[in-house]
Amino acid sequence: MNLAWLGAGLAIGLGAIGPGIGIGILTGLSSEAMGRNPDASATIRTNMIIGAALAEGLGILSFVLGILLSGKV
């Protein structure tokens, strides 16, 4: 049993929980804001994309750890 592979799986598996929840909440709240105020749609959409990329960055950090661990065999 190779612990590096187990670590890689756990890294990406547990690391995808946080950004998933975060981006879901973000999209929901910004959709509600766009529904209340359709004139500000462009600004809200820009902020949503920026927020999603920032939240996804943390998930990517754990993905990178998974890549490094799985390459170690």
């Binding site: 920026i50 920032l54 960055g57 943390l58 990517i60 950090l61 993905f63 990178v64 890549i67 490094l68």
Partner: protein, 288 residues
């Protein structure tokens, strides 16, 4: 069943050297990431040269004859520059336009480097390796941006810039002796955590961009191997195109925001003038 094409067992995490000038120290490893001290020209450098050459050629052709009735290419470049300037101004206001050249350079270079990772031969031929799929490029850019905004903070604030990290003002807050001691210790700890998170920004900037581009390359290879028929993976090419643009924008935007945060002052503003302004605006709106 047609035979599946080969999924490479190991994707190239960094570029390979093309020719080496020599060693400058001893190699070591940090958490599995090799840190080498050989000075060499890698294929990531060569691809960076290509990106710079393409950008230079486009810009030189567009600005060769600047006229008041712009040609089509000049129109496109003007649209791009104006769009970016409006974006920077909407983020930081007029003082942020001082950092617009850095933002624009980072944005253009990173977006074109990311898009180059989708182009067919890059990553498979020995001589071409997408620059941002190599963490050395991203780390270099992040370290340079970090040093630049620290220098800018020191230039704006002088030595008082250090008080945002080594914050001894907790000891002079109003309250009893116990409250002063408690707040003093808490403020010092908060300052140290801020210092650590500022240093951590270099790492997150690097890894966010590197992870997105490398992950995109891996996803493209794996998806086009799983979807056996050619052309079905076009959707993933489109996704990679979008992600490349967004990640380049995010890197440049975060560097700009760090500059804005470094030059803003942490003292309390007197509230009187702001109330007066809004009052005047309301009066004008009622009169109109």
């Amino acid at each position: 069943m047609p035979p599946y094409p080969d999924i490479p067992k190991q994707f190239a995490l960094t570029g390979e050297p093309i020719w080496t000038f020599g060693q400058a120290g001893r190699d070591f490893e940090v958490l599995g990431i090799p840190v080498k001290f050989d000075i060499s020209y890698t294929n990531a450098h060569f691809t960076m040269l290509l990106v710079t050459a393409i950008l230079l050629v486009v810009i030189l052709i567009a600005t060769r004859v600047l006229s008041d009735r712009p040609s089509r290419l000049q129109n496109v470049v003007e649209l791009l520059v104006e769009g970016l300037m409006d974006f920077v101004e909407s983020i930081g206001g007029k003082p942020a336009l001082k950092y617009f050249p850095l933002f624009g350079t980072l944005f253009l270079f990173l977006v074109f480097s990311n898009w180059l990772s989708i182009v067919p031969l890059v990553g498979q031929v020995q001589w071409l390796h997408a620059p941002t799929a190599d963490y050395h490029t991203n780390f270099g850019l992040a370290v340079v941006a970090f040093l630049l905004y620290q220098v800018e903070g020191f230039r704006k604030h002088g030595p008082r810039y250090l008080t945002r990290w080594f914050n001894f003002s907790g000891f002079s807050q109003p309250g009893g002796l116990v409250m002063k001691a408690f707040l003093g210790v808490v403020f010092i700890l908060v300052g140290l955590i801020e210092l650590f998170s500022e240093i951590f920004r270099m790492l997150t900037l690097t890894l966010r961009l590197w992870g997105n581009v490398l992950g995109g390359e891996i996803m493209l290879v794996v998806m086009s191997a799983l979807l056996v028929l050619p052309g079905l993976a076009e959707i993933f090419v489109g996704l990679e195109f979008f992600i490349g643009f967004v990640q380049g924008l995010i890197f440049a935007l975060l560097v700009l925001i760090y500059f804005i945060l470094a030059i803003e002052s942490h003292e309390e503003h007197p509230e009187g003038e702001q109330h007066a302004e809004t009052h005047v605006d309301l009066v004008h709106a009622q009169a109109a």
